[in-house]
């Protein structure tokens, strides 16, 4: 009963929704998915622009004239690396920084491997970093330039020695200038992200469980931005920008725009996920290109793994990205370390102008090209429409429930009191049994979920005695758990002669499951839209339209189970790696699956990547709730 408004209006809306239920669901879902994908079309989204006025990108002229020095650093480094094929010439690098007069330090850390044989064995690592103090400022802020140290034996396009040469040349140039308002910290990390995490832990004095880092001997102020360089020693043809960070966090869009603008100033080709922007704007080809770029970015973001060292900075509210030098087969124009140095110099001059942290531009966006962006305001409505399909379904049951209750109220008024009491008691028992029947399902799904979450630790403990590799034991153990959980609904169909029939109120269960699903998908979308999108695209149509009768729905549901999602994503990954032969594809897929689960767990322990947590603790029980529906008895009215 409404105090200030009329409840009758609401009834009409609910009746309308109930009538056109299925149609609405389908329309909303398809509209949402296609709307989302259509956003990649250039006229539908906005072009990039600079929000932060303080950046003044590219306004100041480049003063870097140490081209020959950069090249000589590159050659010398190349020679030093060649001397040994096992270790990197860290001492040489240390000495170079020290000779320039900067505060240079070694930073030691050790990694305690979470799984695997000797638990107590710690793997030592060492980072090198040096700080260039701003001459006229008081070390209140810093910007970071980092390069991951890669083993000499890696593939040539994964080398990062060019980046080290750039760093040295720039350090030499920057040291002489008086216009720095922030300190510049040059960081060389061992073991890629692990070393970076260790350094960040030491800098911010946080602690990780498995990475033990010592306190940093020298420090500067809070870090405002970080640029990570992965430039190989040979000349590159284009710069690839990598944005995606841990758990799908992205750096501020202004930073990306800054790098793009400065690359254009250098007349260098710039790509996102190695995709070049198309030249036309409104053609079908350009749309295909944009959608491809968008999908690549979403793919990377959904995995939650950082695509480079930069991904670890985002947690500390530091904007960071990686500039990777890529080499094509037929180079049109090559860019040597000199050009890269000028590019990075321009970036740092602009970063120097900043007064506050990046706060003006977007933190949540999807980039279909380097010149356009899809902001959260644009992609949320189609995504919301997609999820709304679930909610419409809920309203069906809600409506029915309301409708029923209303009818019953009116019946109360009509009948006499005795009848009322009879009806009431009966309904009460029915209602109670409805809710009570669901609780076991929920309980079991939570139990399975917690087993899936805490299982790996147990599984890896037993892997060593069984002489299995950790990945294998994990894989098999989780598969076993999955099969067990698939079988659990059979328990409900057992009838005990003396108990009343357990009528599973599947409608209520579906309502609850749909609510849980929408809630989880929306929550994930706030942080990592891509993950939510992919899961939503797969699960929503199936779970919404599930009814307890057909076996076709059983099969469909199985197809969107977490295990099969992992399988499908592994196939896609293998296909992206250009393995087209079917048997090789399947073989690669199996390897990918094992690798995927293993790496996700490793990321969870080392960096706190919650993709595995989400999949095992949130999506899995949700799916299990749905799994109960087609498997239950359908004696009650549909």
């Amino acid at each position: 009963m409404g105090v200030l408004s009329d409840p009758k209006q609401r009834q009409k809306i609910i009746k309308a929704v109930t009538k056109y239920n299925k149609l609405l669901c389908v329309i909303l879902y398809l509209g949402g998915v296609f709307g989302f994908l259509a956003l990649a079309f250039e006229p539908f989204h906005a072009g990039t622009y600079f929000s932060e006025n303080a950046l003044l990108p590219g306004l100041v002229e480049n003063e870097f004239r140490l081209d020959s020095e950069a090249r000589s650093y590159n050659e010398e480094l190349h020679k030093e690396i060649k001397k040994s094929d096992k270790t990197l010439p860290k001492d040489w690098m240390f000495k170079q920084f020290q000779n320039l007069g900067l505060d240079t330090y070694y930073h030691n850390f050790s990694l305690h491997y979470p799984f695997g044989m000797p638990r107590d064995k710690a793997i030592p690592g060492q980072n090198i970093y040096s700080i260039l103090r701003a001459k006229r400022a008081s070390s209140t802020e810093a910007v970071v330039m980092s390069v991951p140290l890669r083993h000499p034996g890696v593939m040539p396009n994964e080398q990062t020695s060019g980046g080290i040469a750039v760093m040295l040349a720039l350090a030499k140039h920057f040291r002489k200038q008086t216009y720095w308002a922030k300190d510049i910290v040059f960081v060389l990390t061992e073991f890629d992200e692990i070393g970076m995490q260790a350094w960040l832990d030491g800098y911010h004095q946080t602690k990780s469980d498995y990475i033990i880092s010592e306190d940093l001997p020298g420090r500067s102020g809070p870090i405002q931005a970080a640029i990570n360089l992965e430039i190989p020693g040979e000349a590159v043809t284009s710069y690839n920008i990598k944005l995606e960070g841990l758990n799908g966090q992205l750096p501020n869009l202004d930073l990306c725009n800054l790098v793009v603008r400065l690359c254009r100033k250098e007349r260098a080709k710039v790509t996102l996920n190695k995709q070049v922007d198309s030249y036309e704007r409104e053609s079908w080809d350009s749309y295909k290109q944009s959608v491809t770029t968008m999908m690549y970015m979403m793919w990377n973001q959904a995995s939650g793994t950082p695509t480079g060292n930069h991904g670890l900075f985002h947690r500390y509210h530091i904007e960071a990205l990686t500039i990777q030098g890529t080499q094509e087969e037929k180079p049109y124009k090559t860019l040597g370390v000199e050009q890269t140095s000028r590019l990075v110099e321009g970036i740092f001059r602009s970063l120097n102008n900043l007064l506050e942290r990046f706060h003006q531009s977007f933190f949540f966006y999807i980039l279909p090209s380097t010149r356009g962006y899809i902001s959260i305001g644009l992609y949320m409505p189609p995504f919301g429409a997609m999820i709304a399909a679930c909610l419409i379904k809920i309203s069906l049951f809600q409506a029915i429930a309301l409708w029923i209750s209303r009818y019953e109220e009116e019946e109360e008024d009509k009948e006499t009191e005795d009848k009322q009491s009879d009806d009431e008691s009966q309904k009460v028992t029915d209602a109670v049994s409805g809710i009570v029947s669901i609780i076991p399902v929920i309980a079991i799904s939570m139990l399975m979920a917690s087993l899936a979450y805490t299982g790996p630790k147990l599984l890896t403990n037993v892997s060593h005695p069984f002489r299995l590799r950790p990945e294998d034991s994990l894989m098999f153990g989780l598969l076993a758990l999955f099969c067990a959980s698939v079988a659990f609904p059979k328990m409900f169909n057992k009838k005990k002669p003396d108990h009343a029939v357990l009528h599973l109120d599947w409608k209520l269960l579906k309502c609850i499951a749909l609510i849980v699903q929408s809630l989880t998908l929306f929550s994930i979308a706030l942080m990592n839209i891509s993950l939510a999108f992919f899961i939503g695209v797969a699960m929503v149509p199936v779970t919404t339209l599930i009814v307890p009768t057909t076996s076709r729905s059983l099969l469909l549901l199985l197809l969107v189970s977490p295990a099969s999602l992992v399988f499908i994503s592994s196939i896609i990954a293998a296909w992206l790696d250009q393995h087209n032969d079917i048997s090789q594809l399947l073989y690669m897929t199996w390897g990918n699956m094992k690798h995927c689960i293993f790496m996700k767990l490793l990321d969870l322990y080392l960096f706190g990547n919650w993709t595995y947590t989400v999949m095992s603790f949130v999506i899995f029980p949700c799916w299990l709730l749905f799994w109960a529906i087609p498997n239950c008895n359908t004696d009650i009215d549909v």
């Binding site: 009963m1 409404g2 105090v3 200030l4 408004s5 008024d413």
Partner: protein
Amino acid sequence: MAESKHEEDEKANQAYAALGIGIICIIIGVPLWWKTTEVYRVQLPYNDISDLSQIPLVYLTDIEVISLDKKLDSNLVQISQQLQEDLSRKRGEEVTPIYRVTVRESVGDEQSIFNKYDNKDLSNIDKLLSELSPLQRNKYLIFLIPSNNGKLNVFIGKYYNSFVSSNGKLDKIIPLISKTVQMTIVKEQSVVKSIFNAKGARSLKPDKESMRSVRYNTGYDLTFTLTVPQPDIFDVSWNIREAVDTYLKPLVDHLKEFTQLKINSQIHYFTTLQRKPQKDEKLNEYYFLEQDLPHLINPIESTLGTSASNNPELNFIVYIPTRDQSPLYIKDKNGVKVPTNSFLSPRWGGVMIFNVPEFNESTPLPFPVKVEGKNIMEVFLTQIRLLLNLNSPTSSHEVWFDPVEVNGISNMEIDVWLRNRCFENLATSINTLQSLAQLLGQISNIVIKDDIGSQVEAAVREIKSSLKYLSTGNLVDAFHSSKRAIIASEKAFFDPSLLELLYFPEDQKFAIYIPLFLPISIPLITAMMHAIKWFKGTKKPKTD
């Protein structure tokens, strides 16, 4: 049946609920919101302030005419009447002077003084006469002296005595006395001008006097600066303290009761005028023309320094020209050298160029130069009088003034000054109060604190009492009241707390309140309308 009753009940409940909420909102909510967003404003006497300009401005002066001319002994009453008539004629100005005229014969003491001294030695007579009785402010004695040669002259003394020569003919004497009183002794025009300028009105013709002099203030800072651009060549010294004590102190003492003159002195080295003078080849002299003078002050002023008080500053500069620009003269428009070699700048001060006496090349450097106090003080005293608006009168054939010399100022000049300043203060404070009242009325956002209210009331009180004193002729008390009035009114007007409260300018108040009140008020109002309609509906069938 039951359904409609159920509906009826529901509708009734809805109506009562809506009305209840609405009534609470209006009766309790609106007054509460009004009271809490009120601005604290003390009640000011707005009526009194606007009435202030209605009070007629009058001042009373006592004139006593003492006749030493035997020929006029019989006409004393007639003189008195006619004089009174003449002086009371309406002038149509804002301020009305009222004169109390008494005419009498001279008494024995006065007679004896006149007999002792010759008529020519009027200043001595003046001095002795003033010793006869204690000096009273605002009371002027006019002695009618028989004239020898039939010419009519007036001599104004340093104290309160004036001497008018009479030839026995009333129709010439009375206008002369009247004119003397109005123009020379009381200076009615200057009172009118003071009020006019204080009100801020500007005449189309710029008025030199008002533009030149500084406004009244309870204190002035006078700074004497000796500027020596080449101390290595000229070793300049001055005894400024002695000069000030000797020549300036009397003026300071006379005015001590009414305004404080604080005197500082300093010597500046290595500061030049920075403008090249023109050279007169024949005489080997340098000179500045009148149009060059405005540019001379700025380079010096930048190095003068400021005092730490808020009093108006008057700077007096003695400039010693550099050796290659000596001697340096100022020439006026007609090319004639100015004898005083000085000029003044309105409301700022004055500059005097002191030329070093000749010396040969062989004298060892630095050449000692002594700046005489008398020379500079002559110039500066004149300038101070001009700048402080002391109304230096000029003698002519008809009217002679006893030169003031070391005294600095004569009693009558002080009276004139007091009267002018008093009216200036009154006009200014009335203006200030009225504009303050208008301002506070116009901008309803300003908080008016208690002490501002008390200052305003004090100012109104003092203005009224000052006007009362003026109408009874008590010049000194009137002046002090006016001083207090202007201090209070300025303090009230310039109080730092009277800054506009523009948190919500009027036109943006809507933008602030709408998001707050609109979402609630729309359903409330529609519900209330429904409720009222329903009430009317239920009433109708009953009245059928």
